[in-house]
Symmetry: C2
Subunit: 382 residues, 2 copies
């Protein structure tokens, strides 16, 4: 497998992105109607674009229009506006509106400014291109509190999978919108795509401190142009790679984050308890603040796991690893070298490995520390 | 019902508290073996004092010894040390160790310094008194990141109920230890006390952003000296009052908190969904940071509720209230006066009322904002 720089501009796709003030618009367009699948928020308060896209996706998508600056959620005219947005993007791209997916991110409860969106859609459609830069422009147009645009693509034997995404809220991502658009030249049916996407999302975005709860707008959409036959295993591998890399980029770009944390749970009793344990650690504000303080407080890791699953503390080993080395801070009752641990925690990239010694299952979660800057960003976001 | 200033020094009880460096010791002693009941952490990583007290409480308690400065959790010698702590308090008070409850709070994974504890127990036992100040000293001895000691007591027709507690971690109290000791002169059996205590805790501490997860050390213990017969209803009312006031004190004293938040969910479909909705709001870091920023971001309230229960956004009314007045920021699709809302949020005490219009059930939760100071406290706590 080869990492490429196409982003969503894999074979058969073009993209563009433009911004004006708080608003940004990203377009992705295919040269035919694509088989498509989506994973959407489970929040019962669903933004209008999610309702629209969920409804039309089964008939296939030829384009996606996404905006930052307004969530189009909890607004009476929301669905009407989402439909209009599909229509005006469709007109610009010469695509039926029922083949145009819509996604939005931004403040809840404000009506979307369709005049601005229309102007930006016009500008973007004139700029559509299959260059890597065009995909990156689309990624940039989605950004809200993100500090970096996020795109990745990979290729194997001519099969291409690429994606862009936005997302930066990390502490309790129940409300931090994540938008992700993935394209491929592979040929699969909508239902095959759905299964593959669910598998990939389960190991990536859902392990990025996402915790089952979701924002009103969360959307992951996959479009397949069907230009190349491909075996399911190869495709899954490429898709897993793209979603995992994007999820890691989100974790690294957590709001206000100063450190990137990977939590490896090993030898759990079963997969479900491994996942619960990994998520418990990655979402714990006490673990996250300790990490920010470069404080090897392994007790908070132990306690966060114990609050979700059964553990035997005297069986457990907790190890911190970074470029500075590795140290067992807690090993079945014995406390390790905490001075060394403090040095290890001075690095930006930290892995915490927890060996539960209860079975053979494992899970990995991705996240970041909790800083004063997170509070400042979210107190002021407006 | 009359609020009094006895704290735990109600009829039949004495108390004392002393501190030295990081360690504090609180003693509560009765003049006879009391019927007793407890509510303990559900964390599978249980501190040794919890294991000890849970085991002996059914035989009744005559005294409680509690320390701050060390959690006595995840340490091989933990249970032996907890037993020794019961023994040395028992010796000082002339009480069998099997009638001495033990509780600890502090850092996990360090062995408790029993020499220091013994010295402090000696000092405290010499100071035992039934004064209000003695109860307050005990409350002070429990403090960790608390900024104020917490005690309250109430009386009705000679029935007295009093309590002290510590607890200040608020953002995700899964690991923020809460210790609470309640005394009464009423006569009830252990199992009657247990039922009454579970009811009271469910409406108070469990609604203080506690979220089902718990620390390794959480302990609420109730001792009844049995000096006065009492009807169950009167007792429940007094007990509810004491636990609710203590829970509110904990919420107000949240780590780094600058504002106190009450979330009232009304007209929910049923009680369980009302409780889930109230907890979703009170624990949401995005709601808490918005409150800190005096930012009337009602969308975060809506989204946090929608992530846990089914809601119909266009049925919902969200109201902010403070000493500065009251404003419906969102009323079934209409946005209220956000300028007025900003003024209301400048106060220290805020109530957010959410009318779901789905039924007749309600629930109230207590919490605080999330500030940069919270991050500083928890990054540095050591």
């Amino acid at each position: 497998m080869l990492e490429t720089d196409k982003g969503v501009c894999v074979d058969g796709f073009k993209a563009a992105g433009v911004r004006e003030g708080k608003y940004g618009v990203a377009l992705i367009a295919a040269d035919c109607v694509c088989e498509a699948a989506g994973v959407f928020t489970k929040n019962s308060v669903t933004a209008a674009p999610v309702a629209w896209t969920r409804r039309i996706i089964k008939n296939g998508l030829q384009a996606v229009v996404a905006n930052s600056g307004c969530a189009n959620a909890c607004v009476k005219e929301g669905l009407k506006d989402a439909r209009k947005m599909a229509k005006l993007a469709g007109s610009a791209l010469n695509v039926e509106k029922t083949h145009v997916g819509v996604a939005s991110t931004g403040i809840i409860g404000r009506r979307i400014n369709l005049e601005v969106v229309e102007k930006l859609v016009q500008e973007a459609s004139a700029k559509l291109s299959k260059s890597s830069k065009a995909s990156m422009d689309a990624a940039k147009a989605l950004m809200t509190t993100d500090t970096t645009p996020k795109q990745v693509s990979a290729e194997h034997n001519g099969i291409q999978v690429g994606g862009i995404c936005k997302g930066a809220g990390m502490i309790a991502p129940d409300m931090a919108t994540m938008l992700c658009f993935i394209t491929t030249n592979a040929e699969f049916t909508g239902s095959q795509l759905k299964t593959a996407l669910a598998t990939a999302v389960g190991k990536s975005f859902n392990m990025t401190a996402i915790d089952g709860d979701m924002s009103t707008n969360d959307t992951v959409v996959l479009l397949a142009s069907g230009k190349k036959k491909c075996n399911a295993k190869t495709f899954q591998k490429l898709l897993d790679y793209v979603t995992l890399r994007l999820a890691q980029m989100i974790a690294r770009d957590g709001e206000g984050a100063s450190k990137y944390l990977v939590v490896d749970i090993i030898n759990a009793k079963n997969e479900s308890s491994a996942v619960k344990a990994a998520k418990a650690v990655i979402t714990s504000p006490l673990v996250k603040t300790a990490l920010y303080g470069e404080n090897p407080n392994w007790g908070r890791i132990m306690s966060s796991i114990g609050s979700r699953i059964r553990v035997k503390p005297m069986n457990v080993t907790i190890t911190f690893t970074s470029a500075k080395g590795s140290v067992r801070v807690f090993d079945r009752g014995r406390i390790g070298n905490l001075e060394k641990a403090r040095k290890i925690l001075k690095e930006k990239d930290i892995t915490a490995t927890v060996n539960l010694r209860l079975g053979k299952s494992k899970a990995t979660a991705y996240g970041c520390d909790l800083t004063e800057e997170y509070v400042r960003i979210n107190a002021g976001y407006n």
